[in-house]
């Protein structure tokens, strides 16, 4: 049995997985008595056919780029960081503390400070599971799941009992000061010609794109990146080459948690401008789908994040304009993870079989 050509493996496999997921999603829509064609029209109309829709799609995509890159870095070290959600929530706490209690003269300085604060809090939240994995062999998947729940309980406590201003009912912090307001795309010179009405997408989009470049350079152009990838491919080989497993697990998870925590500059600082309960709203988990769909490459992650931004915004439009509940996007998200992550062997076997049919056909012709 011949192997798949590289282009098919890189492009065709995710594409077919996506098509399979879309087909099942369409069947689900049919099964609940709605029209899949109407659904896709509404989704496209509301998310990419006008600047306003793009403003939301890009906003969601920004969050997913951060969490997708977070999962990617850990994946390359052979670690499945399922704790992006908790790390992003802690990142939100870091960003909120930084914005509320430090006197920032200008948003640009505040953004730099908040980026580091979010990353530090996210990395700290990833550090404990990383240490337990590296030193005591506790399975990182289970510990990071547990840390998601602990984070969410901790955040509820912080918001209800500590950070909530006196006299306010809902569990949230006070609004951030005006000085730390990040320019949204409609407030940036040049871009304001395209985005004429207020959109949530903001300057952090450019930080997310820059982080994609940084992650690419880190993984494929530095010694550390090489060590991370070598460790992820084969731990005994990496150990034999003098790479410290403890150091790699710690560093990969700190970077991963830091990226997840950084997400908070988009949703907490850029959009809500205060810390709310459940601030990450699932973006940490979508990072898993984004990384799988993007084949753990920063370019793929950016593209997959855009796709999921479209799904997220389109799904919200579905909830608004059709009888399809907004939960449809959770189903699609699950299906994409299932087909790209768990059933990729099925797709690959199918494709290999088809390719071999073609090859056999050509050989037979050549012989005749």
């Amino acid at each position: 049995m011949e192997r798949l050509p590289r282009w098919a493996d890189l492009a065709l496999v995710p594409l077919i997985s996506l098509l399979l997921a879309a087909t099942i999603a369409a069947l689900v829509i049919l099964a609940i008595g709605q029209d899949p064609w109407e659904a896709i029209t509404v989704m496209v109309q509301g998310s990419v056919m006008n600047a306003y829709g793009w403003g939301y799609t890009l906003y969601y995509a920004t969050s997913f780029m951060f969490t997708g890159l977070a999962v990617t870095v850990a994946f390359h070290a052979g670690l499945f960081n399922i704790g992006g959600e908790g790390q992003a929530q802690l990142g939100g706490l870091g960003v909120a503390l930084c914005c509320l209690f430090l006197p920032w003269p200008h948003w640009s300085l505040a953004l730099i400070g908040a980026t580091f604060a979010g990353a530090a809090f996210g990395a700290a939240w990833a550090a404990i599971p990383a240490y337990l994995q590296a030193k005591r062999g506790s399975h990182i998947v289970i510990t990071t799941i547990m840390f998601n729940y602990i984070a969410s309980a901790f955040l509820i406590f912080m918001l209800v009992d500590v950070l909530r201003p006196d006299g306010q009912m809902d569990p949230a912090t006070a609004n951030f000061p005006e000085a730390v307001h990040l320019p949204t795309l409609n407030e940036l010179p040049g871009l304001s010609l395209i985005f004429t009405s207020g959109v949530p997408a903001n300057v952090t989009l450019f930080i997310a794109l820059a982080m994609a470049v940084v992650v690419w350079a880190l993984l494929w152009r530095t010694r550390l990146g090489y060590a991370i990838r070598a460790f992820g491919k084969s731990e005994p080989a990496a150990r034999y080459a003098g790479i410290s497993p403890f150091g790699i697990i710690m560093l990969a998870m700190l970077i991963s948690g830091g990226l997840a925590g950084m997400m908070a500059i988009n949703n907490v600082m850029g959009e809500a401008e205060r810390l709310l309960g459940n601030s990450a709203s699932g973006a940490g988990f979508i990072g898993i789908a984004v990384a799988l769909m993007g084949r753990n490459h920063p370019v793929g992650v950016v593209l997959a994040a855009l796709l999921f931004g479209f799904l997220f915004q389109g799904g919200a439009e579905l909830g608004l304009w059709t009888k399809i509940p907004i939960e449809m996007r959770t189903v699609v998200q699950g299906l994409v993870i299932l087909f790209t992550g768990a059933l990729d062997m099925m797709v690959r076997m199918l494709l290999t079989w088809i390719f071999n049919l073609f090859r056999a056909g050509r050989l037979a012709k050549g012989a005749a």
């Binding site: 609940i32 499945f80 289970i142 547990m146 309980a153 509940p325 959770t330 699950g334 768990a342 059933l343």
Partner: protein, 322 residues
């Protein structure tokens, strides 16, 4: 705290521990056979929605129970195909199925009943009702033990007693039958099982099917006995707490019972912060009680409370041709 309050808390401990116990034993079969399953949550949710819907539509809780088990087994089947047949990543498959379940339960319930993704409240024959054990009324006047028997042991729905009986049954199956020996072997060393001429895939699918049945019972209990109907995300992380209990119990059935009772006790305490405050004399925020099972699990995983060693071949797909 007086005796009556204690009994109340123990009573709700048992109630809350039951879905955990079903799900925990479900995970035990799967993981003992070498298939990680973090999709317990999704299976419970599917079962809860299916059982509540069918029980409401047919008016029979038994039809609902069957539907719940079938729905959960369907999910288990997909997990089996992905992780056994196509040797996919078991963790990713579990995560994916949890998302699918979380969304699709709301879609279906909304389509069937149009009440914002919940089922209408179940009544009468569409629910499991508390059953009074023999002599519960007569013995109530016996000091201490009488009320304990009447309030805590008696007066639960049938499924609670089924869950407790599943514990010795599971112990017997795993440690006293040929199937159990093979099931444990396939989780430790599938190659040896294969060499003995026994189908690794067959055994693993059998284990995954049992997981489906037990998660079905867990979900059906949630929707038709603990509560009267399905609501979105009603399992609220119980699948993960069950997973935590499984690790805490080090993959052993009897220990699983104690672990689930302990975690059920925490959940019961979280419902009564007033009692906790009265006992420890310090105000403990409810989120801390909520987080306790998870913190405890991390401590267990870290090896501070005994070492938890998972089945050796857990999570690794078996490749026959090697």
């Amino acid at each position: 705290m007086d005796y009556a309050t204690l009994l109340q808390i123990l009573d709700s401990t048992i109630r809350l521990a039951t879905p955990l116990l079903f799900a925990c034993l479900a995970g035990l079969y799967s993981e003992r056979a070498g298939i990680f399953d973090i999709g317990l949550e999704g299976k419970m949710l599917m079962a809860a929605m299916s059982s509540a819907s069918v029980a409401f539509l047919t008016g029979s809780v038994w039809a609902g129970l069957m539907a719940g088990i079938l729905a959960s087994m369907l999910m288990a089947g997909i997990h089996g195909i992905a992780s056994i047949t196509f040797r996919g990543n078991q963790l990713i498959s579990g995560v994916a199925l949890n998302f699918v379940a979380s969304g699709i339960t709301v879609l279906v319930a909304q389509r069937l009943f149009g009440q914002g993704g919940r089922t209408p409240p179940l009544e009468g024959e569409a629910r499991f009702h508390p059953i009074t054990l023999p002599f519960a009324e007569e013995l109530q006047s016996v000091p201490i033990l009488g009320p304990l028997y009447h309030e805590v042991i008696s007066g639960h729905s049938l499924l609670v007693y089924v869950a407790v009986l599943t514990v010795p049954l599971t112990w017997w199956i795993l440690f006293r039958t040929r199937f159990g020996l093979r099931l444990r072997a396939v989780g430790e060393n599938p190659a040896a099982v294969d060499t003995a001429g026994i189908s690794v895939k067959g055994l693993r699918f059998a284990a995954v099917a049992i997981t489906g049945i037990l998660c079905g019972l867990a979900g059906a209990y949630m929707a038709t006995a603990l509560q009267a109907g399905f609501g979105r995300e009603m399992t609220a992380g119980r699948g993960y707490i069950a997973l935590a209990a499984l690790i805490f119990a080090k993959w052993r059935p009897v220990a699983a019972l104690w672990a689930c009772l302990l975690f059920g006790f925490f959940q019961a305490l979280a419902l009564r912060p007033d009692v906790v405050e009265a006992v420890v004399q310090v105000k403990i925020p409810v989120p801390f009680l909520d987080a306790l099972p998870y913190v405890l699990t991390v401590l267990v995983l870290a090896g501070f409370v005994g070492k938890a060693i998972p089945p050796r071949a857990g999570g690794e797909p078996y490749v026959k041709e090697r």
